[in-house]
């Protein structure tokens, strides 16, 4: 790749957004690219909306992506995709896990959950890929690998040898979960 690719990964605390960011960094390192990643820890993590930004390419300075500068928005949750839609370039790709997580503001009746979410996603994004990552992960017997299923789908958009992605998974995931996560990656990469 001869230009910098900007990726924003968003979701709800606990969904594995942070591990996905780490995985992308490892891929860049193995592929001999430069990379920078930004995320914020702290109060926002407690049940909050989480964002991790990764930029990879020949030379990267800023760890943050300007608004409207994201090439690929990976969202682990539908409303989070809408919340961060303004980050995406006009011709950028939105990859959305078809999962809905209602926050306390909705469960207590203080806020409304948006109607017809799939339609809103379709209206908002020109290039939308709705991926049933949670269903796929549950079929594989572990909901926790939904994030790697999303990564497999993302890898299809990047000009990087899939073996490098697999290597990054082997290096980063706990040994007993490596096989499961490789299977998850291949399932969506080959879809």
């Amino acid at each position: 790749m001869n230009k910098v690719i900007n990726i924003s990964i968003v979701g709800v605390g606990g969904q594995g957004t942070l591990l996905s960011g780490e995985l992308l960094c490892r891929v860049a390192l193995l592929a001999g690219m430069d990379v920078k990643k930004s995320e914020v820890h702290g109060m926002a993590q407690r049940g909050g909306s989480v964002i991790s930004q990764v930029k990879l390419g020949p030379k990267v300075y800023s760890p943050l992506i300007p608004e409207g500068g994201t090439d690929i928005l990976v969202s682990f949750e539908k409303v989070e995709a809408l919340r961060w839609a303004h980050l995406l370039k006009k011709d950028g790709v939105a990859m959305v896990n078809a999962q809905e997580i209602r926050p306390i503001t909705v469960s207590t009746g203080a806020a409304q959950w948006p109607d017809e979410l799939d339609k809103r996603l379709g209206d908002t994004f020109e290039n939308l890929e709705l991926i049933p990552a949670l269903d796929m992960a549950q079929e594989m017997g572990n909901a926790k690998c939904a994030n790697v299923i999303m990564i497999g789908a993302l890898a299809k958009h990047m000009d990087i040898d899939p073996e490098i992605w697999r290597q990054a998974i082997r290096e980063l995931v706990k040994p007993k979960f490596v096989d499961l996560n490789l299977k998850a990656f291949d399932a969506s990469y080959n879809l």
């Binding site: 920078k36 820890h41 800023s62 943050l64 409207g68 839609a85 926050p103 306390i104 908002t124």
Partner: protein
């Protein structure tokens, strides 16, 4: 193959400290600095500890420097306020073994109560300062900082920010060879280590000379770099702002300052003379800009303000559009009206029982720094003030002495009590106060990610130690009324706090339950709403538990995934609709 790793800024600071030869590190946790010691403790031959507060952490590191060892202390920006006293005078005394204080500032206040710019403290204390722009800088500067400290016999500040500390990038680690041999040891030299007026007056003279020498060093520092451009625009920048500027101004000349105290004035004057238009792009306060203007150098004043809040590529891109007279970058507006995800006290959080009691008692609550700041938000809304670590205790006493007619409770956590609540409590006892101090004792420093503290019985190095009890400290200070409550028992908690508020002598209520997240206790029961008994009164929502939801028909239900079985909701339901279930 080159020795490259992906490291966050904080991981890089720890790696650099290890290679730089640090032997002793003492710190109090605070976002965004906490991960530095959590990573440093993984390396061999480095003694690491959680100090009870930043002042003590700095004093411990100073002691190690006296001994000739390389030492460091780390803290968040407001932590340095606590440690200012030793820093200001240690600067006069000077370091023996290399000494580095890491100040991790939080522009944008991701997890802080203000966004003070601690670069002014380096200038105020008259000490050299290094300001990394990324993880590579953080690693290289940390190694250099110890050498610099020993070369000039002066404490050095490494000033990072949230965005540098919590961003990751590739770091070239070099041979990763640890350099802890500085050949120094303690040698008695009273005129140089005892700042009584007789000796501190010459110390002041010496530090002024060191600053002159350090400025000459700054002119040649490898961290002050000139990147020559072609379009006549010149920008002086530092820290994370450099990264945004480099991308937004590809053709401009950039003076990237990594050593920002003392500033390399000649380098700056030469740079200013070499460009047609000079700008300064720095995050937080105009620290460099004020000094450059004071040199009589003309600095352009763009309308795009870089002050207040965190910088980002958008703000710097706007500035670039203004500098070049190009169109402002088009931006899509965020979609509005989406439900937010505010931070909330966790399901089963032991703080909830106390805040529920306080909201029923309708008393004024002076609050403090920790997860329990969330008690200020609805539906609990049971916190009236926050200032700084430990302030709840002194504030409550002050309200009482000022004749405030209502009841006042001070609320603070166990780690905050150890940090700086003890002195305030002693002050209440001594000055015949009558305040009620509630210590939310969840046996962990939760907010910053579950660090050990004097109450947990474990050190940062993983050793067993004495677990200090809040009750014993309170009794030792002379508090006669010390009560312990189980915050999961709502009536008991309410009644005891009420009794203590009505008492006319000082009292301490210790609310004792481990942090649900920190203790990782096995969930042994859960609760559910029997919907036919639910009268839709929504009383159970008053405790603000994220596991309790409202169904479409208006009855409430408990999310079985989130419920940890604390049972507080069962106690507030007047109709017996909430029942214990198995797991």
């Amino acid at each position: 193959m080159a020795n490259k790793k992906i490291l966050s800024g904080n991981e890089a600071i720890a790696a650099g400290a290890y290679v730089g030869g640090v032997s002793v590190a003492s710190a109090y946790p605070g976002t965004p600095s906490t991960e530095i010691l959590e990573n440093l403790v993984k390396y061999p031959d480095v003694y690491c500890e959680w100090a009870v507060n930043e002042k003590v952490g700095m004093e411990v590191a100073i002691g190690a420097s006296f001994a000739g060892k390389r030492s460091m202390t780390t803290m968040k920006h407001v932590g340095l306020n606590v440690a200012m006293d030793p820093l200001m005078t240690f600067a006069y005394v000077g370091a023996n073994g290399g000494f580095v204080v890491v100040s991790a500032d939080d522009p944008g206040m991701h997890s802080s109560q203000n966004e003070q710019d601690n670069r002014y403290i380096a200038k105020f204390a008259k000490i050299p300062m290094l300001e990394p722009s990324d993880s590579q800088d953080a690693y290289d500067m940390m190694i250099e900082a110890f050498k610099l400290s020993e070369k000039f016999s002066i404490p050095v500040m490494l000033r990072t920010t949230t965005r540098v500390s919590h961003s990751s990038g590739i770091v070239e680690l070099g041979d990763f060879k640890r350099d802890a041999e500085n050949g120094k040891k303690y040698e008695k030299n009273i005129p140089y280590t005892v700042p009584v007026p007789l000796y501190s007056r010459p110390m002041h003279v010496r530090i002024e000379q060191k600053l002159i020498d350090l400025e000459a060093y700054s002119e040649t520092s490898k961290f002050n770099r000139l990147e020559k451009g072609t379009d006549g625009v010149g920008i002086i920048t530092s820290g994370i702002a450099y990264a945004y500027v480099r991308e937004a101004f590809p053709n401009a000349s950039i003076l990237h300052l990594g050593m920002t105290n003392p500033l390399p004035k000649k380098m700056i004057a030469d740079f200013a003379a070499s460009v047609d238009r000079l700008y300064i792009a720095e995050e937080d306060e105009p620290f460099i800009e004020e000094q450059v203007r004071a040199m009589g150098i003309k600095v352009c004043d763009p309308e795009t303000s870089l002050r207040i809040g965190e910088l980002n590529p958008d703000r710097i891109n706007l500035m670039a559009a203004e500098v070049y007279g190009t169109e402002k970058p088009a931006k899509a507006e965020p979609i509005t009206g989406l439900p937010g995800r505010p931070p909330v006290l966790c399901p089963g959080c032991s703080h909830r029982g106390v805040f529920y009691a306080l909201s029923r008692l309708k008393c004024m609550v002076t609050g403090d720094i920790g997860c329990y700041s969330l008690g200020a938000f609805p539906p609990l809304s049971a916190m009236d003030t926050i200032i700084c670590m430990g302030a709840s205790v002194g504030n409550a006493h002050g309200l009482a002495k000022a004749g405030y007619e209502g009841k006042v409770a001070a609320v603070l956590g166990d780690s905050t009590f150890f940090h700086s609540g003890i002195t305030g409590l002693l002050n209440i006892v001594y000055n015949k106060g009558c305040s009620t101090v509630i210590v939310l004792d969840n046996r962990i420093t939760a907010m910053t990610g579950h660090q050990d503290n004097p109450g947990t019985g474990k050190t940062l190095m993983g050793e067993e130690t004495i677990a200090t009890r809040v009750e014993a400290i309170a009794a030792g200070l002379g508090v006669h009324r010390v009560r312990t409550v189980d915050p999961y028992n709502l009536d008991e908690t309410y009644n005891i706090i009420k009794e203590e508020l009505e008492s006319d002598e000082p009292s301490v209520v210790v609310s004792c339950r481990p942090c649900v997240l920190g203790a990782r206790l096995k969930v042994v029961r859960k609760f559910a709403v029997e919907s036919d008994k639910c009268k839709k009164c929504k009383m159970c929502l008053k405790i603000g538990c994220p596991a309790i939801e409202v169904a479409d028909d208006g009855t409430t239900r408990i999310n079985p995934v989130l419920c940890v079985g604390c049972g507080m909701c069962e106690q507030v339901c007047k109709f017996g609709a909430i029942k214990e279930t198995g797991i």
